[in-house]
Symmetry: C2
Subunit: 201 residues, 2 copies
């Protein structure tokens, strides 16, 4: 039986299972991050908010960065199911919808903003972004594998590049420009990525 | 003679010309932002660093946000010439190269990171990102207009959507994932956006 948690976070000592209260600890961690940014996040405050003893938290995560990394990668708050609609277009559109939901949702947008701001400002947290993207890409790769099997996509297409384009477009629209997201936004960006925008010769 | 500076920043009182030392003030503003983040930026520190009297700065910009907005939009540090290579592919690839240069360059990457972090964490600075993007889009629109004239692009393609995809991909790769940027990155993302990645029926 393989009971390792997904992802390997630098600095975290992880035995076979997470603590029973892991999701509560993660939720408290992300709420503190979303509420007051990286500087407001302390292990003491997480302990107070989650009702879990500080010693227990330190037993699992040596410092707040290790805890933040675990929370961002493993919290159910930031997870979504990978779509399986039967077409590449439907799956990618579903992914974009979910990303828009994460970046605009009442419970999540503040957390995502704070996480992005924390990572963007701190090279010491670069591993955290890489860890998150690697973890998500591992799940989303199935979308691309199925599309190759169905003959919709060449095996030479780099899933990471396509996801850079799609996730980046959502970020640019929602986070950077803070512009409205029209109902057809997901379909439009996916259409460009699948079909291209150039006039075909 | 139209001597208005480009862009209209909320809260800034702008007479016909900027102060003679505008670029020095902008440079000091962005260096302080890049060095210590938004919190380290004060009008007092900008005055000390640029050697321009505080009163002069306040005469032009009522507070640090107005000054930061002017610096981000108008500083020559963050400006680049819009490419005109004769093809849409060449122009878009040139834009991506310039964005990668901005986000990785020694003199600029810290400033861009700090600006992104400041904006991402502060809804009160959303206007600043919009102002920046509107200003740049006004220049970059020429790339799309020329492509439509040459018959490379349909007039129905939304330039803002294409730039969300391209600029977002650079941000995702460089800033979020902090992953290496291969030499062919610009060509590859532009290829997907122009031709699509789906197998053509």
């Amino acid at each position: 039986m393989d009971d390792k948690l997904p992802g390997t976070l630098p600095g975290s000592r992880r035995p076979g299972r997470g603590p029973r209260q892991a999701q509560e600890i993660y939720r408290a961690t992300l709420e503190l991050l979303g509420g007051g940014g990286y500087d407001a996040l302390t292990v003491e405050a997480v302990a107070a908010r989650s009702g879990v003893n500080k010693t227990t938290i330190y037993r699992w995560w040596p410092d707040k960065d290790a805890l933040l990394g675990a929370a961002i990668v493993q919290s159910s708050l930031l997870r979504f199911d990978v779509p399986d609609t039967g077409t590449l277009r439907g799956d990618l559109s579903g992914l974009v919808h979910r990303l828009v939901g994460l970046m605009t949702g009442e419970a999540t947008s503040g957390v995502v903003v704070a996480a992005l701001a924390a990572v963007a400002g701190r090279p010491s947290l670069a591993w955290l972004a890489r860890e998150f993207v690697t973890d998500r890409l591992a799940g989303e790769r199935a979308v691309f594998d199925r599309a190759v099997e169905r003959g919709e996509l060449s095996g030479s297409v780099d899933p990471a590049l396509v996801l850079d384009l799609l996730a980046g477009a959502v970020w640019s629209r929602v986070m950077l420009r803070q512009a409205p997201v029209p109902d057809d936004f997901a379909d439009e960006v996916v259409k460009v990525v699948l079909e291209g925008c150039a006039v075909r010769a």
